[in-house]
């Protein structure tokens, strides 16, 4: 199955088995199977309402699936709470940026370290030696992550005051601060201009090369999907309709149909109505 994948090492990081999520009468995700291999960039694409974000929300614990399993590094994490999932090693960003607007950029990144630190109430009140050392670590690592996304100069600026493109990068820095094995990005290029998108692609490629991380992303920008993905999975109406290398998916008639409708008018919507 993974024979065509460029970066695949054969080790599965994330796997979903028969994932089904129902909202009232709507089947948002239907029997969805996915395998993400270590060290690759996998893009999940599909028209609006295809269920991409729902898949992300199930994987990161915001929703509990009606059926199916989510396995991360072989461990069943189905239905775990979001704060546990990040501690297992899956960190995410949101489609509509969710930062802590009235806190500084550095404090925003420090949030990602929460699950990697452990000082309790009493050591925090009495500032024990261990607690102070841990705080220094949290700051040091967070500062490095801030530098990595070139936002060091905004360290003490409130997150709400920096530019939109910078906010996107700040959210990625926050996710990276938790040292994730899997980075889950929900439309990271939305709202970015072409130059910023280029920078983001270069950043993610560099990240994959230099760190032990795997990336799963939802993307609408076809340039980015084509330019960055090792593997593309296409969702439509909650079902997987195709997967393959970017080139193969791009040429797949099912995918073109999902995005543009059928070419043959006789079997299209007009005729059946």
């Amino acid at each position: 199955m993974h024979s065509g994948r460029r970066h695949s090492s054969g080790e599965v990081v994330l796997e979903t088995k028969g994932l089904t999520k129902i909202f009232g009468g709507l089947i948002a995700v239907n029997d969805f199977n996915l395998k993400v291999y270590k060290g690759e960039i996998l893009s999940l694409i599909g028209p609006n309402g295809a269920g991409k974000t729902t898949v992300f929300n199930v994987v990161t614990g915001i929703y509990r699936p009606e059926e199916g399993q989510v396995l991360f590094k072989g461990r069943d994490i189905t239905g775990c709470k979001p704060h546990r999932i990040i501690s297992y090693g899956i960190a995410r960003t949101f489609q509509n940026i969710r930062l802590f607007p009235d806190m500084t950029c550095l404090e925003n990144v420090m949030a990602g370290r929460h699950c990697r630190s452990s000082s309790g109430l009493f050591s925090s009140i009495f500032k024990t030696r261990r607690q102070r050392a841990e705080e220094r670590d949290i700051r040091g690592i967070s500062e490095r992550r801030l530098e990595q996304v070139s936002l060091s100069r905004f360290r003490d600026e409130l997150a709400k005051n920096i530019a939109y493109g910078s906010q996107r990068m700040l959210e990625i820095a926050r996710a990276l601060a938790s040292e994730p094995d899997l980075l889950v990005l929900d439309e990271p290029s939305s709202g970015l201009n072409p130059r910023e998108t280029e920078d983001l692609m270069a950043f993610l490629k560099n990240l994959i090369r230099e760190e032990d991380v795997t990336i799963l992303l939802i993307e609408h920008d076809m340039n980015m999907v084509m330019g960055i993905s090792d593997w593309v999975v296409v969702l439509d109406g909650g079902r997987k309709i195709a997967e393959g290398t970017p080139e193969a998916v791009y040429a797949d008639p099912h995918v073109i149909e999902a995005y543009l409708g059928k070419e043959d008018e006789d079997t299209g919507y007009g005729a059946s109505a």
């Binding site: 969710r98 806190m103 404090e107 949030a111 990602g112 309790g120 949290i138 700051r139 600026e157 938790s178």
Partner: protein, 330 residues
Amino acid sequence: MEQASRIEKIMAQEPLRVSLVVAAFLVYPFLVSDYFIDIAIFFGIYALLGLSLNIVLGEVGLFDLGHAGFYAIGAYTTAILNTKFGIPILVLIPLSALAAALFAYIVFSPVIHLQGDYLLIVTLGLGEIIRQALINNPFDLTGGPNGVFGIDFPSFGPLVVDSSIEYYFLIWIIVGLSIIGLTSLQHSRIGRAWNYIREDETAANASGIDSRKYKLLAFVLGAALAGVAGNVYASKLMCVSPESFTFWESCLMFCIVLIGGMGSIPGVLIGAAFISLFPEIFRPFAMYRMLIFGSAMILMMMFRPGGVWPRKRGAVEFRSLLDDTGRSDA
């Protein structure tokens, strides 16, 4: 002009500002009459109550309009255990805190997931339930509407706290210690976790913060501090009765945090000063007191919604980091 800016620069130094305030508090009771010392004692009690509610309302952004309930539990725990079993007041400080904290843990555990207004309604009801229960005199413990009388003075070995000036120092030492502890918390991962939840709970959860745990912790800690305030209040007045713990008290605490600035410790002190001094200053026109108070609150919300002294972020943290790195180099 130059002179002014130099003074400003000197005043901007945190340690200096803090030591000036502390010095003022140390000198104050020796300069004024007992009447003004008493006002400062109630200022201290309100400061402690403000600090306790600030954890819940200011740091985590949870609306709590039943905080007087925990204040009552602290006061009644002290009153009952002291009058019935003769346990010394100072020993009862941690016990009152524990009783209020335990109560908060038990009642909030099942409802902590409620959002905004829903949680507000629960806290409002809770405050009333506690007050009604005290009036109904359960197990003949609370003395009904009359309350409990004859509470001891706190004593520490041969030193008995029975004058205004001693009470003044008792309450302000407690407030001072609380401020030190809470400031440490603000700059720890726990304080930040509270703020993350206030800013965006979903993002906080996704960043690894167990919001349920930290919200409960805020309520428990807030209740514990309110319990301590109740202890001091009970021994200062030597009696407690349900009418001291009405919904109005909860409103006052709410105002303290809003006036000062949510999540700001100096702000809480300013708010508490305003709430405790206001009735005294306006005593001559008692009839119009509430009118002025209400108008002041409305104007506040219109022109300075962040409070008088909102918490500043960034610069302070920056300095402390420089200190830290300096230390690690040495």
